[in-house]
């Protein structure tokens, strides 16, 4: 599974993209964020407060309880500020 980070989440994690293989216990976007948070202090800093984050699963906006089993791409980022 590819995981992408944008804006300050990218800066805190220190990566813009990584390839990960989460265990079968990781079922949702929320599970994935919690599991990724254990990978480094940067991951923890960027991903531990889900309320400040938005996520996308296979390029569609997702919720903390959206499933991630079998998906190709998950992204974490702050609320959007386009326009």
């Amino acid at each position: 599974m590819k995981v992408l980070y944008f804006a300050w989440v990218r800066e805190k994690v220190g990566l813009d993209i990584e390839e990960v293989s989460p265990p079968d216990t990781v079922l949702t976007v929320g599970d994935l964020a919690a599991w990724l948070s254990t990978r480094s202090p940067g991951h923890k800093d960027g991903l531990s407060d889900l309320s400040r984050l938005r996520a996308a699963v296979d390029q569609d906006l997702a919720q903390p309880d959206s499933p991630v089993t079998g998906v190709a791409e998950v992204a974490f980022f702050p609320p959007m500020t386009g326009g």
Partner: protein, 157 residues
């Protein structure tokens, strides 16, 4: 029904003139447009704003803009729409976004144009980083933008 995401500047005048020409050929009576620019300062007497850099999520951006555009076409009888959104570093005064909507009557054109802007503000994956005298900072999303986007969702019965 055109969506473009690009680093390059665009020529609003030429884009709007071409859009209007198509609208006239389609028999439309109303063309509403919106151009978003990098503001020069924050409020009439506020501090000067420096350049900003727009980061985006290539692939998802186009996908979301196309979804937003399809929503607008479902809601209003539009003869045409155009969305151009830039990314990368933009100086004060630079164009960020152009949205156009054409319809038979002005109500639909105005409403669709405002809707497209409200929705892309909260649903298209762009993030702004401002250069300020105190250093760079990520622009925080506005609660008012979320509220405006939600206002378009019909109440659930």
């Amino acid at each position: 029904m055109v969506v473009r995401v690009q680093a390059e500047d665009f020529d609003s005048g030429a884009e709007i003139a071409a859009f209007e020409r198509d609208a006239a050929l389609a028999g439309a009576g109303a063309v509403a447009t919106f151009t978003g620019l990098v503001r020069g300062r924050d409020g009439a007497d506020g501090p000067a704003i420096g350049a900003m850099t727009l980061e985006h999520y290539p692939g998802m951006t186009e996908r979301q803009l196309e979804a937003i555009e399809a929503q607008a076409r479902d809601r209003w009888p539009l003869t045409g729409t155009l969305i151009i959104h830039r990314h990368g570093r933009l100086e004060p005064g630079a164009r960020i976004v152009l949205v156009c909507a054409a319809s038979s009557h002005r109500e639909s054109a105005f409403e669709a144009c405002a809707f497209l802007m409200d929705w892309l503000k909260t649903k298209a994956p762009f993030w702004k980083r401002e250069e300020t005298p105190e250093g760079d900072r990520w622009v925080a999303a506005k609660a008012s933008d979320d509220a405006r986007a939600r206002a378009w969702v019909p109440p659930k019965s």
